[in-house]
Amino acid sequence: MAEVVLRDLSKRFGDTVAVDGIDMVIPDGAFVVLLGPTGAGKTTTLRLIAGLEKLDAGTVHIGGRDVAAEIPAQRDVAMVFQQYSLYPHLSVRENLAFPLKSPILKTPKAEIDRKVAEVAEVLQITHKLDNKATALSGGEMQRVSIGRALVRDPSIYLMDEPLSSLDAKLRTDLRVELKRIQASLGATLLYVTHDQIEAMTMATHVGVLNEGRLVQFGSPREIYENPNSLYVAGRLGLPRINVLPADVFGGVPDGVTQIGLRPEHIAQGEGQEAEVIRVEHLGDQARLHLTLKGHAITTLTDPHQDYAPGAHIKIAPRNPLCFDASGNRIA
């Protein structure tokens, strides 16, 4: 395992800037999650570290060594692709053993058998080991693809939305398992996801990308509680943060034009009167959709509380996040 340092990482494809001067330190043993919408440069960042794309500018250091001149095989990285890319002509077992048999690792046969069996056990694919890779379901393929990375002990694991094609239960199981493996191995991991729960539960650090730039980097709590812009605030949180003009509630510092209110940052029973549009019961919580002076607001409420549509309740902000006109955080 190793520390990975990105300096001024840049890549363009034709006229499109995919990655624009990213500076980031991925500490040894960290689980770093990259967040951002499609096209923000998450996948390109992974590919630049892996050596699948040539850098236009900047440097990548893995374990202190500049890897610019190294081919992917020499960089000692393992990657899980979004489209599983299992070798279709090989069995599941051969797919898992493939990296171990590489000329760089040249693992002894007994060791290969042991590691493959171990990883198959963790990923619950032991009974499929002798199947052709193409004779699996999507979820199974994705697990094999994760397994192909886990059999190795690389400087860094790069994972591109590895859990996105799995069903909810398996996703939860694997999320826990992946975090456990990462923690027990002390592995360094760079992980791309859209999923807030994955980001919040697994990450030691979160990097938020926007149009190829790293706009904020910090612990998940820091990103959630202390976002430096409206954009970052909107990346985490479900239901999404409510964005309202500053004058709806008033009482904000000068220069603030918009406030961000997370659903849990709305106090009920005081302040302005809002109308209930509908209530969504999710079991452990209920989401309350309200409208206030024409603005839609979502908040959380006691699941046993029943509001009829059209009812009126009073709400007030608690610790709002304040932003200026261009979306930068003020207070």
Binding site: A50, G51, L52, I71, P72, A73, V77, A78, M79, F81, Q83, S85, Y87, P88, H89, F98, P99, S102, P103, I104, L105, R148
Partner: protein, 313 residues
């Protein structure tokens, strides 16, 4: 697709289609069966009119194909010791003795060496070139590909005279190497184009995965790309072999002895001791076998190869 899908043809449609296919197969296979039969007829049976469908099989055609014979007087024949084998016996019935082996075996081996040699070389070079065209940014790639294809836009024999002169000066006339190079040059455009199509269909992600898994690009090529291109390689190889195997015009022009292939040799049998149709038919039958065996061995791949691109898996 389920068994009761509406896109499944009805049993009546299947029956009609099956009948048509069998009829067509019978029509196309008739000349082949006729050649096979003629090979086992005696010379009089082979030219009898009306043609004989039922006949007593004889190996005379095959004996004549593999031997040269001389006519001897009945007295000399009677003075000989009893025939040592069935071939000798067949030949003596025609008042002849076996003088030695014919050149058919040698010519057949030439065909094997040249046919398979040029097929191997075409596939080897074609696969590498197709991979490069498919994966790398090559300056003027489209123009180069068009140029490669354009070499097939005229019949190869149109350049026979320049090639004949060139080969004479280079000492390649009537050599195995010369014929292998020539057939490779003709086949390589087909090989590059067909194989590029197959390799284009193999997603790059597999190679990227292999690169990350600790392999070099070349190792990724032969461990990951080649096995998946096997279908394309097999069907391309069959097309190349069929061309090289059957080629007649260049073989007549450029070979006469050492490197003569079977196609120009078989007709020369006709001139030896009258119209020996059974021997010609026997030669044609044996000549068919290698390509037939090769095709049957690669049949599974060939079917997938011909329909490739029709259904994306």
């Amino acid at each position: 697709m389920s068994a009761h899908s509406i896109t499944e043809p009805s049993s009546r449609q299947k029956w009609v289609a099956g009948t048509l296919v069998i009829l067509y197969a019978l029509i196309t296979i008739t000349p082949l069966i006729w050649i096979l039969m003629t090979g086992f007829k005696t010379p009089p049976d082979s030219i009898s009119y009306p043609p004989k469908v039922v006949f007593t099989p004889s190996l005379e055609g095959y004996v004549n194909l593999f031997t040269t014979r001389t006519r001897v007087s009945p007295e000399a024949l009677a003075a000989l010791p009893p025939p040592a084998n069935f071939a000798e016996e067949i030949v003596r019935n025609r008042n002849m003795v076996i003088a030695g082996p014919s050149k058919f075996g040698e010519r057949f081996m030439n065909s094997v060496i040249i046919g398979f040699g040029s097929t191997f070389l075409s596939i080897f070079l074609g696969t590498l070139a197709a991979y490069a065209f498919s994966r790398f940014k090559i300056p003027l790639a489209d123009d180069l590909l068009f140029f490669i294809l354009s070499t097939r836009m005229m019949p190869p024999i149109a350049v026979a005279i320049p090639i004949f002169l060139m080969y004479r000066n280079l000492g390649l006339s009537d050599t195995h190497l010369g014929m292998i190079l020539l057939y490779t040059a003709v086949n390589i455009s087909l090989a590059v184009w067909l194989l590029k199509g197959f390799i284009d269909e193999i997603p790059r992600e597999y190679e990227e995965a292999a690169l990350i898994d600790g392999y070099t690009r070349f190792q990724a090529f032969y461990k990951v790309v080649l096995p998946q291109a096997a279908t394309g390689i097999a069907s391309t190889a069959i097309f190349c072999l069929i061309f090289a195997w059957n080629e007649y015009a260049f073989a007549v022009l450029l070979t006469s002895g050492t490197a003569q292939t079977a196609p120009p040799f078989i007709p020369t049998i006709i001139g030896v001791g009258g119209l020996d149709w059974p021997a010609v038919a026997a030669g044609a039958t044996i000549f068919l076998l290698p390509v037939m065996i090769f095709t049957i061995l690669l049949r599974k791949h060939l079917l997938r190869g011909i329909t490739f691109g029709a259904v994306r898996k």
